[in-house]
């Protein structure tokens, strides 16, 4: 079913997602942010991608002091509306189910988040390095806030 207006999108998502929704934030006419629990992400994706035929634009991982947030940006092209699904993961052990088996467009972006931010994706079909070289030292996640490039000539420094 293709949704054609912003209100329709909001109403339908509220109905279908029901108690999966943690919070809704309506930024303005064209932007809606919905937070869901990490364990509901696959179900949520099913509703948005399969039933409402939205397009996955991208996903951004954000490192905050105590959580790692993942923002899945979905475009409802016929409704002139962008819906962002937010999940908040534990910063010490960020693990979430992959949505790549459902939506092929998410495959690369999940690989990227894994190597740059250290988020583990369960059931990802093809998890390996995407942007960084294969010899990149483990446990070094460039997009983390506390990332510092190790000293020259240290085995942890990828440039040496």
């Amino acid at each position: 079913m293709v949704l054609t207006s912003r209100n329709e999108v909001l109403q339908n998502l509220r109905e279908r997602l029901g108690n999966k929704i943690v919070s809704v934030f309506e930024k303005n006419e064209r932007r809606i942010y919905i937070e869901v629990a990490p364990q509901d992400i696959v179900e949520t994706t099913k509703v948005i991608f399969r039933d409402y035929e939205a397009r996955l634009q991208t996903a951004s991982g954000v490192d905050t002091p105590d959580k790692i947030d993942i923002y899945y940006h979905w475009a409802f092209d016929r409704a002139n509306c962008l819906v962002t699904i937010i999940v908040k993961l534990d910063r010490q052990k960020p693990v979430i189910d992959s949505i790549a088996p459902l939506c092929m467009g998410a495959e690369w972006i999940e690989r990227e988040m894994w190597e740059l931010l250290g988020v583990t994706f369960n059931n990802h079909p093809d998890m390996r390095h995407l942007l960084l070289m294969d010899e990149w030292p483990e446990g070094q996640y460039p997009l983390r806030r506390d990332f510092r490039l190790p000293k020259k000539n240290s085995p942890l420094n990828p440039l040496s």
């Binding site: 930024k27 303005n28 064209r30 932007r31 942010y33 035929e53 397009r55 996955l56 634009q57 991208t58 951004s60 954000v62 490192d63 923002y71 940006h73 475009a75 092209d77 016929r78 002139n80 962008l82 962002t84 939506c103 092929m104 467009g105 495959e107 690369w108 972006i109 990227e112 740059l116 390095h129 995407l130 942007l131 960084l132 070289m133 460039p142 997009l143 990332f147």
Partner: protein, 405 residues
């Protein structure tokens, strides 16, 4: 047991996150599998962007890609404006659209030329790039630079388009009509070109939806996604234009969509220039502070939707800046499009995505695996050229006829 050949294409490639190293697994003449390896171009832009102020960000994101060098700034500015709830003056919106469309013109012309080159029509390459120079000139008149225009800033644009420049720009646009007609006719009438591009590298509607493909690639397969129409931004809500779609999704349709889009671009710029005369006013809202909050900006770049996500924490720098360029999703479609095609067609299919193209110039064998035959870049282009000349003989055609003026 047949001997498998692996053909490496790459690895060098020019876009931000989309440098590619294609490994074509070949059985005889047919491609059976494609491996795509990225990372030769990863410069850590997202991390670096966190150290740049909002004003600097524009110069910075411009240097992500040289061809979409105004699409990234527009998307970035829109994201900042979305986060900070800044209202952009109308005149600035028109200027944004003009620069954006001029960029689309030069980018599509660039692609068309190189597509010709890889099919073995160097005449097309030279002619198309000769007319591309006119567009580049036009941009130089407006912005002062041939590439990297530095026209955008959060809240508006940096430079105005002067009234006395408008006739010059219109002159260039009118001059483009004839060559564009010519290219359209050439593509649609030349039997060899048709034979090389029709029914090659087909992407179905479902493929595009699965891969979340965007831009001319999606529109060629009948998926009418155009950020300009669907999510009006800049001046696109105020002008009249068509979203070009075709249905078959082969290479020919991709060429066709791009050429027809150029006609639309010309018409959009003309409308914007007309509106510019009637819209005086400031070109910059001069936002002093960007409020804390999330902002998403997206823009229809020549290759499809580019999206920037910015999280502002109220300071003068973003706390997080996420960038996704269109080729990031479009390149992935090659995993479907190339499979089952012959090697000679692979170059044009990989190229039809329009991943900044000159990389393919630099296809070079990097490693000869034991017992596996490896073809070099030159071999691959030569294969493509051979096929064209063979077809040309069979069809008795002399190639595209470009009248000299």
């Amino acid at each position: 047991m047949s001997k498998k050949t692996i053909i490496p294409i790459g690895p060098y490639h020019p876009l931000q996150e989309e440098p590619e190293f294609f490994k074509l697994h070949v059985d005889g003449e047919t491609v059976v599998k494609v491996d795509i390896e990225l990372g030769y171009n990863h410069r850590g832009v997202e991390k670096l962007a966190e150290s740049k102020t909002f004003e600097q960000a524009v110069y910075f994101v411009e240097r992500i890609c040289g061809i979409c060098s105004t699409s990234h700034p527009i998307a970035c500015c829109q994201a900042i404006e979305d986060a900070g709830e800044v209202k952009v003056p109308e005149r600035a919106l028109y200027i944004r659209s003009i620069i954006g469309e001029l960029e689309r013109l030069h980018s599509h012309l660039l692609w068309l030329g190189l597509a010709g080159h890889f099919l073995g029509f160097n005449t097309v390459w030279m002619w198309v790039w000769r007319y591309r120079e006119d567009v580049i000139n036009c941009l130089e008149i407006i912005t002062g630079n041939r590439n990297h225009y530095c026209m955008m800033k959060p809240g508006g644009v940096r430079r105005d388009i002067k009234g006395e420049d408008i006739p010059t720009i219109l002159g260039v646009l009118n001059g483009l009509k004839k060559p564009l007609d010519l290219f359209y006719k050439t593509v649609n009438q030349d039997p060899v070109l048709q034979a090389r591009t029709r029914n090659v590298g087909i992407l179905t509607r479902q493929n595009i939806i699965d891969y979340c493909g965007v831009g001319p690639l999606a529109r060629a397969s009948g998926v009418a996604i155009d950020v300009r129409k669907d999510h009006p931004h800049a001046a696109y809500g105020m002008v009249d234009f068509k979203v070009i779609t075709t249905t078959k999704g082969d290479v020919f349709d991709k060429v066709d969509v791009r050429i027809l889009e150029m006609f639309e671009s010309v018409s959009i710029i003309k409308q914007c220039l007309e509106a510019l005369k009637k819209t005086p006013g400031p070109i910059d809202a001069n936002p002093a502070v960007i409020k804390a909050g999330d902002g998403i900006g997206h823009y229809e770049a020549p290759r499809g939707e580019v999206i920037h996500y910015i999280r502002s924490d109220g300071s003068n720098r973003p706390a997080r800046h996420k960038i996704r360029a269109p080729s990031y999703v479009n390149v992935a479609t090659n995993r479907t499009a190339v499979v089952g095609q012959s090697i000679a067609d692979a170059t044009i299919i990989l190229g039809a995505v329009d991943p900044c193209y000159c990389c393919t110039e630099r296809m070079a064998a990097i490693r000869v695996d034991n017992g596996e035959k490896t073809l070099t870049a030159d071999d691959l282009i030569k294969l493509s050229w051979d096929k064209t000349s063979r077809l040309r003989k069979e069809l008795g055609a002399a190639g595209p006829v470009l009248p000299l003026d």
